[in-house]
Assembly symmetry: D2
Homo-oligomer: 341 residues x 4
């Protein structure tokens, strides 16, 4: 695109934590601008009333989402930040209005419709699903570039795939891994619930979703696709008493003799030209070292006959908003990292 | 009472944070036992399902509160831990069943019915109100001893009154004070609300209720009553990102020349025989130093022509459950501090 | 012992977080009393200056540790709460003074002297080591009862062994497990360090000690000993932003076909008569549910061909002070759980 | 300056929390670049080893500060981020090297040398002090524009002055105020200390510096200077368990009858053209609403015959790094808010 024309972004559903982040970051983006924010009837109003932090920085008002108005907007891309099921009910109208779509829900992440329906609900937009591209730029940048609809990945799959894919692909670990994952509470969204009530979560560390979390089939699908090996993931998430950040401690069985140095080389080669993956040696990944950034930090160790991979990211950025902007940059031919430092 | 007969406590409303604390502490109490827990229809069941921490420690089940069953229970005292308005609707039946009452709500704290009704709702039990005693043992122990109904004080009034009363009473400060108060989030109760959602409160410090908090008339009434001087309080509460603890920084205007040493003497004399007030000199009150205890710590300074008083307590203990047990001990002729260390 | 004579406890090193807890809990203990607190020259003084929370509750002063004074004290047992290496330099004098010893350091936990010296320092008290008993009451109660010296276990080994031992012993999982462990920061002790500086740890989740933590050989030794199978543990600890609490997520390979129900039965049988182990079914272990208690909560799941065990405890209680008191109770013929609720 | 030449910034002392922030924000600044980072001998090395978060974002190395090297650097301005006393020992050499200076220490904030020396140490650069300008842009922008040395204000004075100055200046409150202030722990710097050890601060709220904090004479000087009325401040700071953020609850006595509406008008007029002050009406200032921004939020209430002002900012940004960049923009003729959203 010409340098004097900015990408015109339509934001659908700006009142969640990730919606808020995407507003903050797009405000700084030199080649994009938000031209409208739309949401459901019970969540309308100035964005700085939802997020007082935005006051005097942005002047956006969330208006009622009405499909009929979309065509006249003249937007280039919709950031579709609504829950699954709602997302696929909005997507066709966005498509018809000529907008490319970056969907943040799970609706277009699982390409096998039957598998999606097993874990979620009946799919109502198979046409959209057929053309959707999984938006993990480190592995799908070429397809993302021309995709009409990009399914922005889940935070846990992003963290686990970036961590485990290089070694599975290289045939250095068995495609059967354990991802012991930890997230901050913003990942649970903004709807109040006893589970996320401050006194229940503060000073508490707790596993959840241990009998099957919906991000599990997603990460298995993507790992299998990008490595070429049918991969199984035992995925156990936990909640830590903090706002943001995610760390996966991934355990795997090596194939043959491997050394940490050898594995490190594989990571360095795999991510040499990826601006948002940092391969760590002595300083291990930690959530604070990626907080407020779009980076995913990875490190690897060999011990006791196992391979251990650490992978950390900010669940609201590389796990949501930052990745969405990274996808947008690629879709519109901009440098992948524009506006993301 | 004879040493071999324990106080038989009926707990009404055990599913809140303070209810939970009173269960834990009464389990340790050598002269009291909980003989039943009762609550509303939507909150019935084993207490260790509400509070997994209680599992294998207590075997209590919250059953439906039915006034007709009370007389047959043979209890000595009811801990009435339900919201205001509900409390005064339950109290008459408890009275008829021969139970003395320790009420944790605001319903019996404000002795002036009109003032109560200005800040809360119409009062439905004026008979109970007429005989209620304000349960701040440091100032009302004599009356508490024989009271049929004790109104367990609010956390903020407890903290502010213990802090300010000695100097107002001694005529050393003007009866017109500022109480800048800070509380942990458990003080807001256990009902989920966006305001108390973890990501809204964590890493956040915020004033609230600045246009008039209901604890203000309560603390003015009590300070006026115990000091004999009509006292006015500008009360500004704040929320700090922590589970428990309360600290009031109280600002006052001295009457005449005062020194910190002189004021310290007043505190030491006022609280010399009070087991749960600790007068501090070099180490200032801090919430962590009273956490998990029934203590209220106080300290005083003179600076820039003002008197500054610091007062700290655990909002769930001296601010609620611990104080209720302290009141119970006094009502039944036991040492005031029994079971409270 | 006769019921009217209390156990006379000598506390060596009371100024750490666990020392503080043991003081608080022994104050409540009906059959024990602290008769003296001793420490190094730079840490002397009233305990309530180290821990303002103890003010008006205990009147203990940490005095200089001088071996010559010990015999005259007439104590029954020493709680030896000093760092490794120092502990074994003090133990002989305590022994000579006729005191039984509960040592909180690592000095007597690893029975194989060469293994100890590989991970720590040269051992200077092999005589003490020869008679030491590992103080995990769920597995060594008989030996603890008569031991002259009990090695109070590390927090991580306690959590991992209670979690994994029943299934290894029953031959239902391979004796080659992964323990992904998470602890609150109090576990790191009270010495200031950039690593534990508030702004470095708050809002941070981080792995550490991944190249070999000293608790690893300890847990391998104990698991091997109590299960009868040579056990290997890949142990990866992490720091979570909270004061206290520990949770181990343990991953194992089942032997043959197993079901969650079958494994649950094994746990219920193994811990039926153990007062401080709670086997959980629907409510998973979480640090908040054991905080401030001496319980260790365990739960088990089968998923994706793996067995997952969750085990949680309070690192300062079941992981340190509470376990020490539990050991003391057993050593002196008292009910195991006396004073521990 | 011409748009194609960036401001060349020399950073002295980049290893503290505020130094880290200034690096992150200057990286985004369209018209400034860091050309060198210098520090003391024991703190040299790549900035991304001090702050792993900076990895792959900046490539800066802290080198030894040697005055002789400065002239050759060709820098425009020095950000002098070292402790007081050290700052004034470095400033003369920076001046001689032709650099303008933004000093973050207290060394040039108090214009009365005797007053400075009463609270700090003997002043060794009276020449620099004579030309220094106090860097609070909302009140000193004109002088800052041409100043050779700008004294970047303390966080507490910034928060208190922005909050209180308009009403004192307008003669609507007495020039004798109480500033009850609360800060996150990053304000204490990065040097480990028991006071700031995680388990000492977490779940703790505590007053400190109550017998006289060094920011008090600074805020009195500035309030007096900008309002034209000799102002006295009773300043009581507290520590809250969070990383960043500051909130001052300021209490004042009105002069004559005032209404909240009237006072609000004064604030709106005072800060109408100040990009980083947000005057709030219904939503009160809270630390989370300014976190990560350069804003200072203010609100005012009238109650019980007193005026209450709330003022909040991010101690690392408007309280340090952000304000320094704001000053730099003004010094070099750029829009005041460039690079600060």
């Amino acid at each position: 695109m010409s340098s004097d024309k900015k990408i015109r972004v339509v934001l659908i559903g700006g009142s969640g934590y990730a919606g808020y982040e995407v507003i903050r970051w797009l405000e700084r983006h030199p080649q994009a601008e938000i031209i409208g924010v739309y949401g459901p009837e019970h969540e309308l109003g100035p964005m700085d009333e939802f997020y007082p932090l935005l006051n005097k920085q942005v002047n956006l008002v969330q208006e009622l989402f009405e499909p009929g108005k979309l065509a006249a907007l003249g937007g280039d891309v919709a950031m579709l930040c609504v829950p699954h099921k709602v997302a696929m009910s909005y997507a066709p109208a966005l498509r018809e209005a000529g907008l490319r779509i970056i969907d943040w829900s799970a609706d277009y992440r699982i390409s096998d419709q039957a598998l999606y329906e097993k874990w979620y609900v009946p799919h109502t937009d198979p046409e959209g699903l057929a053309t959707a591209v999984y938006g993990l730029p480190e592995y799908y940048a070429d397809k993302i570039a021309n995709a009409p609809l990009v399914a922005n990945p889940g935070c846990y799959p992003t963290c686990t795939v970036i961590g485990a894919a290089p070694l599975i692909k290289a045939g250095l670990i068995e495609p059967d891994i354990i991802s012991n994952a930890v997230t901050g509470i913003s990942g649970a969204g903004r709807t109040p619930n006893l589970k996320f009530h401050f006194p229940e979560r503060n000073e508490n560390f707790e596993p959840y979703g241990v009998d099957g979390h919906r991000h599990m089939p997603e990460m298995e699908q993507v790992l299998t696709d990008v490595t070429g090996k049918a991969t199984q993931v035992l995925f156990i998430p936990h909640l830590a008493p903090m706002d943001r950040g995610m760390l996966c401690s991934i355990y795997a069985t090596p194939i043959g003799d491997v050394t940490a140095e050898q594995l490190l080389d594989v990571y360095q080669a795999a991510y040499a030209d990826k601006p948002f993956v940092r391969v760590r040696e002595t300083i291990l990944p930690a959530t604070k070292y990626v907080s407020g950034t779009n980076f995913c930090d990875v490190a690897v160790r060999v011990q006791k006959g196992k391979v251990i991979i650490f992978s950390a990211l900010d669940n609201l950025l590389k796990g949501a908003s930052g990745q969405a902007i990274q996808n947008m940059n690629i879709m519109f031919g901009l440098p992948e990292d524009m506006g993301l430092y």
